[in-house]
Amino acid sequence: MAKGNPSFLNGVPELVVLELLSRGEMYGYELVGAIHERSKTALSFGEGCIYPYLHYLEETKFIASRRLTVDGRSRLYYRVTAKGEKRLAELTKEWKRVAEGVGLILGGAHA
């Protein structure tokens, strides 16, 4: 997320957000909770930073939003679009390739 990250880490927030939203429609707070829960708090960040990412993904048509009122609270729910599903497949493939490469290096170092 930070400026100067290696390029192979640039797609990580996008991958995480798309993956979680592909499992179901969520609002920002719920999404942050899901990231903390599924990553067992390994991924921690300023929670407000999720919104610029969501807006960017929405502008690039990878996700779409709609305002819903649930239990008397009006919230903006996000979901993945068809274009977002394709992007998610690409990012997942890329991430697996990078993770495999890193795994091989770490495996080699410990051998």
Binding site: G28, Y29, V32, G46, G48, C49, P52, L76
Partner: protein
């Protein structure tokens, strides 16, 4: 009544960068909803109202970082934003003439129509001075509009005041290289490029326009910065 200091600071930071009000509203409304949820969670855990509000602000993160991410996201979503320097080097050459062509085309049609209907006079070319006057006004107004638009674009993309000053200078130089002439007798309007430029009254007008537009832009930008800083201080005190 507790309010999020973080939301106010993000709004102020975005306003300082010239973000559109609708975008600021969108970001801050979602941040405020998030803050409210985090505060409610804190209250449920037994924290006092002040502690819950403070913890909710901490959870949102550093306002400057959020604002930086919003600006970066906005920049990444357009070609102009991804390549600000290239865009700002090339656009000054073509933006004003293109803008003028779009406006001048209907004017040329009007000229043709008024020429044949002898509008406003008795000789065969009654409104030539009016048309050329309008053409000159268009020339200068499109130059100003192009400069202000480019400055605003640079500002919104987080380029600092030095870059914007350099942009004003670059726009002035490109405006001097652009050739424009409107002749009431020959009923010709010509525009293109010419180098080196000739020093005449129009050169002085172009330089004066750019100087004034740059001054107006910086006055407006500093007023926005001052207003947003005051708003943040008011929210922090509340």
């Amino acid at each position: 009544m507790h309010e999020s200091v973080c939301c106010a600071e993000v709004a102020a930071g975005l306003a300082r960068h010239g973000m559109p009000a609708a975008r600021i509203e969108r970001v801050t409304s979602e941040l405020a909803e998030h803050w409210e949820d985090a505060r409610a969670e804190g209250l449920e855990k037994g924290l006092s109202a002040a502690e819950a509000a403070s913890q909710a602000d901490k959870r949102l993160g550093e306002p400057q970082e959020i604002a930086r991410h919003v600006i970066a996201g906005s920049r990444r979503s357009s070609w102009l934003g991804r390549h600000p320097i290239t865009a700002l080097c090339i656009l000054p050459f073509f933006f004003a003439p293109a803008l003028m062509a779009v406006i001048a085309f209907p004017l040329a049609l009007l000229d043709g129509w008024t020429h044949f209907t002898h509008w406003g006079g008795s000789d065969s070319r009654p409104n030539a001075y009016l048309i050329t006057g309008l053409a000159w006004a268009l020339h200068y107004s499109t130059t100003i509009a192009a400069l202000l638009w480019l400055c605003r674009h640079a500002w919104r993309n987080g380029l600092g005041t030095r870059w914007i000053l350099a942009l004003c200078l670059w726009c002035a130089l490109t405006a001097l290289v652009r050739f424009f002439d409107a002749d009431p007798i020959g009923r010709n309007v010509v525009f293109g490029f010419r180098f080196p430029w000739r020093l005449n009254i129009h050169t002085a007008i172009i330089l004066w326009i750019h100087g004034m537009a740059a001054a107006a832009f910086f006055t407006a930008a500093s007023a926005v910065k001052k207003r947003s800083t005051n708003r943040t201080q008011t929210t922090a005190l509340a």
